[in-house]
């Protein structure tokens, strides 16, 4: 019996891609998404290593240096207030760096919790159908009737302020949003033969939902997740700006903006400008990154790319 062999000289393993190749490829294909990812990375780095990189204690009041412009030198410490100081003489740069930690903590926690709970509820709603679906969707309708900021404001008004409450306040409105999107994908999945097959071999509902349906709705889930992070950061900043979110002396961008926007916009513009820029960049970064993720994960858009 004759066997055919591939000629050795023609069998060349493709060159293994390094991480740099992948990054370059992403940069070429998704330049805006890459810019977004870079902003997120910088934020993450600032948040994770705040203690190491912040020049001052973000809560340390230096009244002798109150409202000092950027570049002022703290004579005793021999350090520079690169971003100036606020009305309490606190270093703006250090508060910006620590503020990244607050933004990421709130942003990621709220969006992960909200999106994950929405994922489970959305898939379960589609899978079980009938009364369960009807009840869950009507509850979602009620929650979705309120704009995110209104719902969040109502929750913190009832349960109080602080980081934990802000996370809860932002998480709750995310749940129905994610559940609704995920459900629409899961409804189509539910009709596919492999789900019937899984049922017929006696798999439990939990196993079918978690192992067979959830992995197949990950694309919309991930897109929602990245979009939620930006929204959560913006909502946290809005709540803090309104005095209903994170409280002093915690460093948070919305709080920094609230403490300076009205009074110091003219006389000490560095007080509101830096946190404003940070919030804008963060939201912009997550949105760009989210769009890129969508482009990569959405088969229709991927083919266009």
């Amino acid at each position: 019996m004759a066997t055919s062999e591939l000629p050795n000289e023609e069998f060349v393993l493709p060159k293994q891609k390094t991480i740099w190749d992948t990054l370059l490829r992403m940069l070429r294909r998704q330049p805006l998404g890459s810019a977004g990812a870079l902003v997120i990375l910088i934020m993450a780095f600032a948040g994770l290593f705040a203690e190491q990189i912040a020049p001052f204690d973000p809560e340390m009041e230096n009244f002798e240096y109150m409202l000092s412009p950027p570049g002022t030198v703290h004579e005793e410490a021999g350090k520079v207030f690169y971003f100036g100081t606020d009305s309490f003489g606190r270093d703006q740069l250090s508060r910006m760096i620590y503020g990244a930690r607050t933004a990421l903590l709130v942003g990621f926690t709220a969006s992960f919790c909200g999106a994950f709970l929405g994922l489970v509820l959305g898939v379960a709603s589609a899978y079980f159908g009938g009364t369960v679906d009807l009840v869950l969707q009507r509850v979602c309708d009620v929650f979705m009737a309120f704009p995110l900021i209104i719902m969040a404001l109502a929750i913190v008004s009832i349960f109080g302020t602080g980081v934990e409450m802000v996370i809860i306040a932002i998480t709750i409105p995310f749940i129905p949003n994610c559940a609704r999107v995920v459900r629409s994908g899961a409804l189509a999945l539910k009709e596919l033969p492999y789900i019937d097959a899984a049922r017929s071999v006696g798999y439990s509902h939990v196993r079918i939902i978690m192992r067979h349906m959830v992995p197949n709705v990950m694309a919309p889930f991930l897109i929602m997740l990245t979009a939620f992070v930006g929204q959560a950061i913006l909502t946290e900043a809005s709540l803090s700006y309104l005095g209903m979110g994170v409280q002093e002396p915690t460093a948070a961008w919305g709080l920094m903006l609230q403490g300076g926007a009205e009074e110091y916009a003219e006389s000490a513009p560095w007080v509101p400008i830096w946190p404003g820029v940070a919030i804008t960049l963060a939201v912009f970064g997550f949105n760009l990154f989210g769009d890129a993720v969508r482009d990569v994960l959405d088969p229709k858009l991927r083919s266009q790319v």
Binding site: E59, M60, E61, F63, M66, S87, F88, G89, S157, G160, T161, G162, G243, M244, Q247, E248, P249, E262, E263, Y264, E266, S267
Partner: protein, 545 residues
């Protein structure tokens, strides 16, 4: 040369008199014009007897008169009262200080044409002092010493007191004691004035458009002859400070009576230069920190004293006065009142007032260690209002941190904040305040009494109660002052039941064509608007229509 000196002197004198005459002429009040006021709070009702907000006083007070009031030409004085509806000077107490006889003006008419008599004033004070069951009166407690109010004739009103009291005359002068018509009270009932206006004030009511403005027009039969100077006034509702600020900056409003923060003043002055005049005054409002004695470890006086020892009031005054409406350190009595304790005595006798802050903080740490509370952690409850609550709150957190304490802050909007203070008691240490209208030291310090309804520190102290009883019955300032000092030391030092931070500071920038108004130590005072006039030429120069 000999002849030149006398001629020069004559010329200088002549010039001085000429310019003096010109400036005196320029300073003569002018009639006419409309005054636009911006008001940063809502009007809950028109009834002064039940309200306590400047949101009502600023737009509504010009419609009403009082029996006596602060001297509008000297409102800065906390002890200068003059007759409004009475004649002559404010009466001195007779029969050992237990009887005050007021002679009432004749010819005064309510805006509906009803003549005013002593019966109207009696009916109004009866509503304040002894309201019928089910009718609220916010200032009833200030008149506990009143035994009876009688009207021997239409021009005489007599207050008989149970005992002599230094708090009586200031209490009568409170700007909320609007004089209503007896006819209105008898005909329409005791709640009619919540939604209707009929007074004897300098202005009569024209309209109130909810959320927009209140308008008043000149009362031609006002009892202070020649006044008011204005034709009308409009109180514009503007809850946001930035809106009020821009309204004055843009000429949409002429004045705001509550006060702006220092930075807003600086911005206005920078932008408008001589078009703005700024009046400033200490304010009869003080921010406190109240530990909840029912929560451990704040039941321990050592811990409470450590809290007050950690506060550097001197530097706080220096720096916070640049960013917040607070300034003057002091004790429990308004610092500009003759009975207030001088700073030298406070430094010597009261914990937390020493200039040696390092030593005070070392002592605070020592006390905490003795109490087994090294590195004390607690939550500070604050009110969700920027000026001055949140700013002073953040400063306090920094002060306590410098004495080794770890403090978090919870900020609540006004309603839940009060729920925590009054009902729930779910706080460790809270911001608190004592804001009064007329400076009435003995009445004002009742805030610190354990039995006071607005004392949120939740403690009992029989000695403090008896000290206050003694103080109430002291008839003269000479008797009252030492008792007040002892009471203050008991509150701030021995018990450290509450702690004073800084007294508020009132900053009123207004358009420089607004003349005749003088700042008072409270935003509730000198609001009849009858002495305000508008310099039309200056207004025109400023390009304001």
């Amino acid at each position: 040369m000999k002849g030149i000196a006398p001629k020069l002197a004559v010329a200088v004198l002549g010039a001085t008199f000429t310019f003096g005459a010109i400036s005196a002429k320029a300073a003569a009040p002018e009639y006419g014009g409309n005054l636009n006021i911006v008001v940063g709070s809502k009007i809950p009702s028109y009834d002064g007897h039940i309200e306590s907000t400047f949101g009502m006083i600023h737009p509504i007070r010009p419609f009403y008169s009082l029996l006596i009031r602060e001297n509008p030409d000297n409102p800065a004085s906390p002890t200068d009262f003059v007759c409004d509806l009475c004649v002559g000077s404010v009466p001195q107490g007779t029969e050992g200080g237990t009887k005050f006889t007021f002679k009432i003006r004749t010819g005064v008419k309510f805006h509906d044409g009803t003549p005013l008599t002593s019966a109207d004033i009696k009916a109004s004070f009866d509503k304040v002092v002894n309201p019928p069951k089910g009718i609220a009166s916010n200032r009833k407690a200030y008149f506990k010493m009143v035994e009876s109010i009688t009207t021997p004739d239409a021009e005489t009103l007599v207050f008989k007191l149970k005992h002599p009291s230094g708090t009586f005359i200031p209490a009568v002068a409170m700007p909320f004691n609007f004089i209503y018509s007896k006819k209105d009270l008898d005909t329409h009932g005791y709640t009619w004035h919540q939604k209707n206006i009929n007074g004897t004030g300098a202005f009569s009511f024209v309209e109130h458009v909810q959320g927009s403005h209140v308008k008043g027009q000149k009362n031609p039969s006002y009892h202070h002859k020649g006044r008011p100077y204005l034709d009308s006034y409009t109180a514009l509702a503007a809850p946001k400070m930035s809106v009020r600020l821009q309204a004055i900056r843009g000429g949409r409003a002429d004045i705001e009576f509550r006060g702006f923060p220092p930075k807003a003043r600086d911005d206005l002055v920078k932008a408008l230069g001589d078009k703005i005049k700024v009046q400033e005054s200490d304010w009869n409002c003080v921010l406190l920190a109240s530990p909840n004695h029912e929560v451990k470890p704040f039941d321990n006086p050592k811990v409470r004293r450590a809290l007050t020892l950690a506060i550097d009031r001197k530097s706080g005054s220096k720096y916070l006065s640049n960013i917040a409406i607070v300034k003057t350190p002091g004790g429990i009595v308004f610092p500009q009142h003759p009975m207030a304790t001088p700073m030298s005595e406070l430094k010597a006798n009261i914990a937390g007032y020493s200039d040696d802050v390092a030593a005070s903080r070392a002592q605070a740490k020592k006390l905490l260690k003795e109490a087994g509370q090294e590195g004390l952690k607690f939550t500070f409850l604050n009110r969700g209002v920027d000026q001055p609550y949140k700013i002073v709150g953040t400063w306090l957190l920094g002060q306590w941190k410098k004495a080794g304490m770890k403090v978090d802050q919870v900020v609540k909007p006004t309603t839940p904040f009060y729920a925590s203070l009054r009902k729930k008691g779910d706080f460790d240490v809270s911001v608190d305040f004592n804001c009064q209208s007329i400076v009435n030291p003995i009445a004002d310090v009742s805030k610190f009494l354990p039995s006071a309804g607005n004392n949120y520190a939740n403690f009992e102290d029989a000695k403090l109660e008896s000290m206050y009883d003694e103080l109430l019955k002291a008839g003269t300032p000479a008797e009252q002052t030492p008792l007040l000092r002892a009471y203050e030391k008991r509150v701030l030092n021995d018990l450290s039941s509450q702690m004073i931070t800084l007294w508020w500071y009132k900053i009123n920038p207004h358009r420089s064509y607004v003349k005749g108004w003088k700042i008072a130590p409270s935003h509730y005072l000198n609001q009849s608007l009858d002495n305000i006039w508008i310099d039309a030429a200056e207004k025109k120069r400023q390009g304001v229509n």
